[in-house]
Amino acid sequence: MLEINNLTARIGDTEILRGLSLSVKAGEVHAIMGPNGSGKSTLAQVIAGHQDYVVTGGTATFNGKNLLDLEPEERAREGVFLGFQYPVEIPGVNNAYLLKAAVNARRQHQGLGEIDAFEFLKLAREKMAMLGMDTKFLNRGVNEGFSGGEKKRNEILQMAMLEPKLAILDETDSGLDIDALKAVAEGVNSLRKPDRAIVLVTHYQRLLDYISPDFVHVLSEGRIIRSGDRTLALELEEKGYDWLREAANG
């Protein structure tokens, strides 16, 4: 589904990704871990198409299409979803408007008709109930005045409504108390499907107690230095990242 080969990218004059390769297949859950500044968030932003990151080499394809040629909205319509580490507050743009416009953009791309108001509301209510969200959030500005936990739930709500093929969740666990973390993790688990891939970008292994990944990768200085199964995450929890970095450099 997602094939990244020897990808290099910079922001401004700083090179952040330095030859990153990653292969993600449908149905798989991957966790990308690594110390601060290793390039985890950059990878997520580059896959989503953020204009501030300049790809300087390598390839990234999504279901055979050159991802790097596509505008951010085209990637979304193809089925790529980025759950933001810091969801943006957009006062004045209604949450329901965004959800509906997003669902319809995706449906139009798939050659389906627009969702009607009744159907939309029914779907939104159902997904919100699953995430333990009050429906009043539909009528608020996007993330406007939301708490940290509410913002992250709102990201998962968008993912649930959009039903992406590939979801990259950037530090979805950061800033969450245990109840919010459980609710978000349950939401993500309910969205695991054989035709959907999920990439979790996380600093701590805490999230992986609730969402069990098939693969764990360690990112350091812009490339993956170790891949393994979920036991690698436990090993990192115990030993930290330094032993791996020393091994990689040595």
Binding site: A48, G49, H50, Q51, E71, P72, E73, R75, A76, R77, L82, F84, P87, V88, I90, P91, G92, V93, Y97, L98, A101, A102, A105, R106, H109, G141, V142, Q158, L162
Partner: protein, 424 residues
């Protein structure tokens, strides 16, 4: 460069050709004032950013051509389109001529024409003098009781038979204790140059409440200068909002006089401009006594090569203690070629006052834009959503509720068009 002077000789002969009637003396006095002072140039502080030469040029061509009242094309369809969009009792002035056929008389409203009664009071301002010098008629509206529907004032022009100029003058008096809503709607069409100069005088009686909406969607390229002079009585409330969506060169002068205790004023405005537009809002609020409060909030969205001006002046006169005056102006610039000249101004001669002002000029929030696009919204749709959000608050607070839906639709349509070309 086109001459910067209004041709007074041709103006004189045009005024002399008008029939001798109840307005003759007023026209002569205004003409004498104009002859002495002329029209302002960019040398005047109040006109520093707005050059009236396009208005002068159209006027001179129209005067040279015989200064006939423009006939224009058939406006009936355009009139119905406006009057059908806002449920109001409409007074229509089409190509300068009064058309009462869209007005349903209401027991609370009394209307007379200047030509059949008396001339209006003319404020000593150059454009008011120009208006009065060429005035052939006008309306005096007295509101004695609350009306069921808002009072509509549609000023509509069509220029298809050479350069044309129209003068509109309306006086509205709101009786003490009376609640009324008013919609002023200015629009124009036609391939030829057009200059519309309007004067609206509004006198709000003691403890009366008036909501006033101004919608301006003239053809881009047409010139409008519009004056609104308001006096607000004791314990009276005046809430206005202007929506400038079209026009080439547009200058709005809003003068509000708070001459009695307890007056409460809200003066808001939204201006949307793109290539070839120049929209200038000059507000002057005179706090003569206290306590009284005034609040201004203007917002602008600019794209392409255009210029907007906001000058919000509040003068707190000596002795106007207990004055509360607020000014805010926020601008969103979508292009490097767009210019905003924002000038908050407070002149305070009283001791016990609360005054504040704030101005911001910003660009589109790139993080928000990326967020929306990452959800599948196209770039244009995302920019539209963000600009609509910037304008939404002022649309929602339109002080005439019957006009809100129409204003929202006009703003949406204008933003859809304005955001299409993003030059940087």
């Amino acid at each position: 460069m086109k001459p910067a002077m209004l041709s007074i000789d041709s103006l004189k002969s045009a005024v002399l050709r008008l029939p001798d009637d109840v307005l003759s003396a007023t026209r002569a006095a205004a003409l004498a004032n104009l002859d002495e002072h002329g029209l302002p140039t960019v040398q005047h502080e109040d006109w520093k950013y707005t050059d009236l030469r396009p208005a002068i040029d159209i006027s001179n061509r129209w005067l040279a051509d015989g200064a006939a009242r423009p006939t224009g094309g058939d406006l009936s369809e355009a009139i119905v389109s406006v009057t059908g969009s806002i449920d109001a009792d409409w007074l229509v002035i089409a190509n300068g001529a009064i058309d009462m056929s869209h007005f349903n008389s209401s027991p609370g409203i009394e209307i007379e024409r200047f030509s059949e009664s008396a001339a209006p009071f003319v404020m000593d301002r150059p454009l008011a003098d120009l208006n009065a010098a060429l005035l052939q008629d006008g309306l005096r509206v007295q509101v004695h009781a609350a009306t069921e529907k808002p009072l509509g004032l549609l000023i509509i022009d069509d220029a298809n038979s050479g350069a044309a100029v129209t003068q509109v003058n309306v006086e509205i008096m709101v009786a003490p204790g009376c609640d009324v809503e008013i919609v002023e709607y200015q629009t124009s069409s036609g391939r030829d140059d057009h200059y519309a100069n309007s004067v609206v005088t509004l006198d709000i009686g003691e403890a009366a409440h008036t909501g006033y909406v101004r919608i301006q969607e003239r053809r881009i390229g047409h010139v409008q200068t519009g004056r609104l002079s308001v006096s607000v009585g004791k314990d009276a409330r005046f809430a206005m909002a202007s929506y400038d969506l079209g026009g080439g060169l547009v200058r709005n002068d809003v003068d509000i006089d708070l001459g009695a205790k307890g007056a409460d004023l809200v003066c808001n405005g939204l201006y949307l401009a793109s290539d070839g537009q120049h929209i200038d809002n000059h507000i002057r609020i005179d706090h003569r006594v206290g306590p009284a409060s005034s609040s201004q909030e203007f917002r602008g969205i600019l794209n392409g090569r255009c210029r907007c001006v906001w000058n919000g002046k509040a003068i707190v006169h000596k002795g106007a203690d207990g004055t509360d005056a607020k000014q805010a102006n926020h601008n969103l610039l979508l292009s490097d070629n767009a210019e905003i000249d924002a000038k908050p101004e407070l002149e305070i001669y009283a001791d016990d006052v609360k005054c504040s002002h704030g101005t911001t000029v910003g660009q589109l929030d790139e993080a928000a834009l990326f967020y929306l696009r990452s959800r599948g919204l196209g770039r244009h749709e995302a920019i539209q959503a963000l600009t609509r959000a910037f304008a939404a608050d002022l649309v929602g607070r339109a002080p005439v509720s019957a006009a809100k839906t129409a204003i929202a639709a006009l703003v949406d349509a204008r933003l859809a068009e304005l955001t299409l070309e993003r030059t940087s």
